[in-house]
């Protein structure tokens, strides 16, 4: 998981959230819409059922009106009173046909048939019916739906019985019934009393319409309510009148296109509507399709449930609508997921970019690049983060610079101190060497001095005694000369070892140079060395031991002369280094120079490259003297080019001057 980038993770999690959200809302939406559609359909179906009832009742009222108005007609009173059956039949037959009633029968006050519009031949038989009873008791008109037996139907005439007779078509979900056909019929019957001129009841007029195979009502319902709308060749709206569970008038079609009369309602609906008398509203499988249906019971005058009125709408369009909605919804959901993912992708890009930049920047910082800055692109948390990151790196940079500077100065200081220390140490070593060597030299010199003294004295004494032409005279002179040489070596040694403080007095260094040169003039001439002087006349007098410094100059000049055995130039200059409070006297020769190897050793006592003629004490003695004066000697040399020896003496020692002015 770790290698998945933060951006992918963000997009993924966004997408999952979006997907879940969309799916959930789609699910809920679909359920809601589905339910709403179904509920609306059911609501509509209920309304449609009401409309169907209106049609049904309209038909009933219509029949009732016809019967009532006919009953109060003059000819009725007249003819009944006169028992003019011929006239009654004619009139009733006219009315029955014009009003397209199935039956129109007049019954006398005793309940016997007076005239049957369809069968003038059959009368006098008693007709027992609930509504006749009702009219007799209540003396007012009534309309109701009644089951009429086959026998009765046959009595009423012609083909009514056959119109009513119906074979039961086996229906899968219906409640099983033993009989194979229904012979009775269901009829809307209206009855109205007939009075004579005195207001006495003289008869009851009975009119009705057989509902079996009469499609007027159902088709009216379909036309009024559904206006004949179809869906994929099927009527959307259907209506049915049931006699019991049997479809007796319907516009629900069988697969062969015929009306589905003779089929029956499902047991479920039957139980609820006929069994319990409660309306049924909901999905139902009608004949061969699912419908959204509403059933309500049709009751007889006595309140007995004898049938049902049904309206139903094909469920398919609603389902299709629902599915369409579902698809649209799902489509929208899918689109949303895609769209939101894209948005998430770019949003995260916006979020991730500064994170990436931050990552990049931190890597740079980790690599030590502290000058990298983040661009501040927004004022949000990312912007603030970038700003504080910048501040942090800035502080870090400052701190690091400070730290670097500190370490650098520290390093410098350490180096400086080390160099100083080394110089002091070198000096210490040098003076240490000189001191211990000085002690040794002093001891040796003293020891050697005694035998030298004896040799010198005795050789001289012998020489004095010898005649001037003695052949040993020469040998003896050699002895005395060599002894003298020994004596100078010892003198040098002792001078070198002498630890006495210099007797410092205010002295003009230029004068010391001059005096030294005066003494060495002949020496310089012998070496064919030209001497060039450049002495600064403004040089202040300084506190030095003139004799010792002269000795130093002598040593240095002699070295220069000795370095130029075939002649050359010696430049002597003096100057004041006011910044260092030093008087500098430089001796630059054009001699052989000093090798890199030797330059570190020239101040060592007894170091010499002049095997027979040098003692190697000249510079070490000079070094000691200059050091006693608080000065130093600097040597620069280049092989075959020459050497510059500079004697540096402090100029700020004015002790002598003070005592002079004190006087």
């Amino acid at each position: 998981m770790r290698h998945i980038s933060i951006r992918t993770r963000l997009v993924l999690s966004f997408s999952i959230v979006i997907l879940v959200g969309v799916l959930l809302s789609a699910f809920v939406g679909i359920r809601l819409i589905g339910n709403t559609i179904i509920r609306q359909a059911q609501g509509k179906v209920r309304l449609d059922l009401n409309s169907a009832w209106e049609v049904y009742k309209g038909q009933s009222e219509n029949i009732k009106d016809v019967v009532r108005l006919t009953a109060v007609r003059f000819f009725m009173k007249d003819a009944v009173s006169k028992n003019d059956r011929e006239r009654l039949w004619r009139e009733l037959q006219k009315i029955r046909e014009s009003e397209s009633l199935d039956i129109l029968t007049l019954i006398d006050g005793e309940g016997r048939v007076l005239v049957r519009a369809r069968r003038p031949d059959l009368f006098g038989d008693p007709l027992d019916n609930d509504i006749i009873e009702y009219v007799l008791i209540n003396e007012r008109e009534i309309v109701s739906t009644q089951i009429i037996t086959e026998e009765q139907l046959q009595k009423e005439g012609g083909d009514l019985a056959s119109q009513a007779r119906m074979k039961l078509i086996p229906t899968p979900k219906a409640k099983p019934r033993p009989e194979a056909e229904e012979t009775s019929g269901m009829m809307i019957i209206a009855a109205a009393p007939v009075y004579d001129y005195h207001g006495d009841l003289i008869g009851i007029l009975l009119g009705g319409k057989l509902l079996n195979r009469d499609y007027e009502i159902v088709d009216r319902v379909k036309d009024i309510v559904y206006r004949g709308e179809t869906y994929q060749g099927k009527d959307i709206g259907t209506a049915t009148i049931f006699q019991g569970d049997l479809r007796i008038a319907t516009n629900v079609l069988r697969e062969d296109g015929s009306r589905a009369i003779g089929t029956r309602v499902s047991e479920e609906v039957y139980d609820q509507v006929i069994g319990q008398g409660a309306p049924w509203i909901g999905r139902a499988f009608v004949v061969n399709d699912w419908y959204i249906t509403a059933y309500e019971p049709i009751k007889s005058l006595q309140g007995e449930i004898i049938g049902m009125l049904y309206v139903g709408m094909l469920e398919a369009p609603y389902l299709d609508l629902r599915n369409r909605v579902l698809f649209i919804f799902l489509g929208i959901a899918l689109l949303s997921v895609i769209l939101l993912s894209i948005i998430a992708y770019f949003t995260t890009a916006k979020v991730v970019r500064p994170v990436r930049q931050l990552l990049f920047a931190t890597e740079k910082v980790a690599d030590g690049n502290l000058s990298h800055r983040l661009p501040i692109q927004s004022r949000d948390e990312m912007g603030q983060l970038a700003a504080s990151f910048n501040r942090m790196t800035e502080e870090l940079q400052k701190a690091t610079e400070g730290y670097h500077m500190l370490t650098r100065t520290l390093e410098d200081k350490v180096r400086e101190k080390t160099e100083e220390l080394k110089a002091t140490q070198d000096q210490l070593i040098q003076s240490e060497k000189l001191t211990s060597l000085g002690k040794l030299a002093a001891g040796i010199a003293h020891e050697i001095n005694n035998p030298l003294t004896s040799i010198l004295i005795n050789s001289h004494l012998i020489a004095e005694k010898l005649k001037s032409d003695d052949r040993f005279k020469e040998n003896l002179e050699l002895i005395t000369d060599e002894t003298a040489r020994c004596s100078t070596i010892v003198k040098g040694l002792l001078e070198f070892s002498r630890q006495t403080q210099p007797e410092k007095r205010l002295t003009d260094v230029n004068k010391v140079v001059d005096k030294t040169l005066l003494l060495l003039r002949s020496e310089a001439l012998a070496h064919k060395v030209r001497i060039h002087k450049a002495l600064d006349s403004a040089l202040p007098d300084i506190m030095i031991d003139g004799n010792k410094i002269e000795q130093v100059f002598t040593n240095v000049i002699l070295n220069a002369l000795e370095a130029m055995p075939t002649g050359g130039d010696l430049f002597i200059s003096s100057r004041i280094l006011s910044e260092d409070q030093l008087v500098a006297v430089s001796f630059r020769d054009s001699g052989c120079g000093i090798s890199q190897e030797n330059i570190g050793k020239i101040f060592d006592p007894f170091f010499t490259t002049k095997e027979r003629t040098g003692t190697g004490l000249g510079l070490s003695v000079s070094y000691g003297i200059v050091q006693q004066h608080g000065g130093r000697i600097e040597v620069q040399s280049q092989m075959e080019k020459g050497t510059t020896v500079t004697i540096l003496l402090p100029a700020n020692n004015t002790r002598g001057q003070n005592s002079k002015t004190g006087r």
Binding site: A445, N450, T453, S454, I457, T500, T507, D508, G546
Partner: protein, 266 residues
């Protein structure tokens, strides 16, 4: 007939003692040697030497101790110090303590003899002084025209502070008496700086012996007595007057005078 001059050579090394003895051997001299301070003191008690040559560096009793001990007993003994190599310290110290002079090792018989000859002269002066002391009153009859503000390094040189603050320098008459005659003098350069106790003059006597003279004060040489260059005898004739040698502008006179003795002329 004069008594024999008795000389004692003191050195911790026998060959040196012997060599010095043989270099000094001459008619009328009695030379003894001693190999240490204690032995020297013992011998001195017995013999009362005129001149002692004493090595400064000896084990046991040092030459300096011996000098002090001898001078305490007999101030008239002339002691010449022998040093390994002269340092200003030992030189000045020993002279202050009463040494007549010193000679650095190694030296030639000539150098030894010239200093010893001076020592002998000094010894003679002592004897005369002792003799003259027997006629008291002569000391008071000092020359009336003697210059004032006179200081000296005993037996070496004198210094006279002039009214303008400069210092005139000349040779002590005893120094002159010990060298007897002057054949030449080496002078310092004009304007040269000298320190107290530095050799500022080199005097060659008639026998060719070179004698150094120490400067009594430190300072800068203003001028030298040019007249002397023609006739050095002037120094001998009038050492405290026209025989002056150098005029020095002193650097630290007050300090220097403390190290000098006031000069009382006999």
């Amino acid at each position: 007939m004069q008594a024999k001059v008795k000389i004692l050579v003191v050195d911790d090394e026998l060959p040196v003692c012997r060599s010095i003895s043989s270099a000094l051997e001459a008619e009328g001299r009695l030379i003894d040697t001693a190999l240490g301070g204690e032995e020297a003191l013992r011998k001195e008690e017995e013999n009362e030497y005129d001149i002692m040559l004493v090595d400064l560096m000896m084990p046991g009793m040092s030459g300096m101790d011996l000098l002090k001990a001898v001078k305490e007993k007999r101030a008239e003994v002339v002691v010449v110090m022998i040093t390994g190599y002269p340092t200003m310290d030992t030189a000045v110290q020993s002279v202050k303590l009463g040494a007549f002079d010193y000679i650095p090792k190694p030296f030639t018989p000539d150098e030894l003899r010239s200093i010893v000859s001076r020592a002998l002269e000094r010894r003679r002066l002592y004897e005369q002084k002792i003799a003259s002391a027997e006629k008291p009153g002569e000391e008071e009859s000092a020359e009336p025209g003697l210059p004032k503000n006179l200081y000296c390094i005993p037996d070496h040189c004198w210094a006279k502070v002039e009214g303008d603050g400069t210092v005139r320098i000349g040779v002590h008459d005893i120094f002159l008496m010990t060298i007897k005659d002057i054949s030449s003098i080496d002078f310092p350069y004009e304007n040269e700086k000298v320190g107290q106790g530095d050799a500022c003059l080199w005097v060659v006597d008639a026998r060719g012996n070179l004698h150094r003279m120490w400067s009594p004060v430190s300072g800068q040489v203003i001028s030298i007595n040019e007249e002397l260059k023609e006739d050095y005898s002037q120094v001998m004739r009038d050492p405290y007057g026209s025989g002056w040698l150098l005029l020095i502008k002193p650097a630290s006179l007050e300090d220097d005078l403390k190290n000098l003795a006031p000069l009382v002329l006999e």
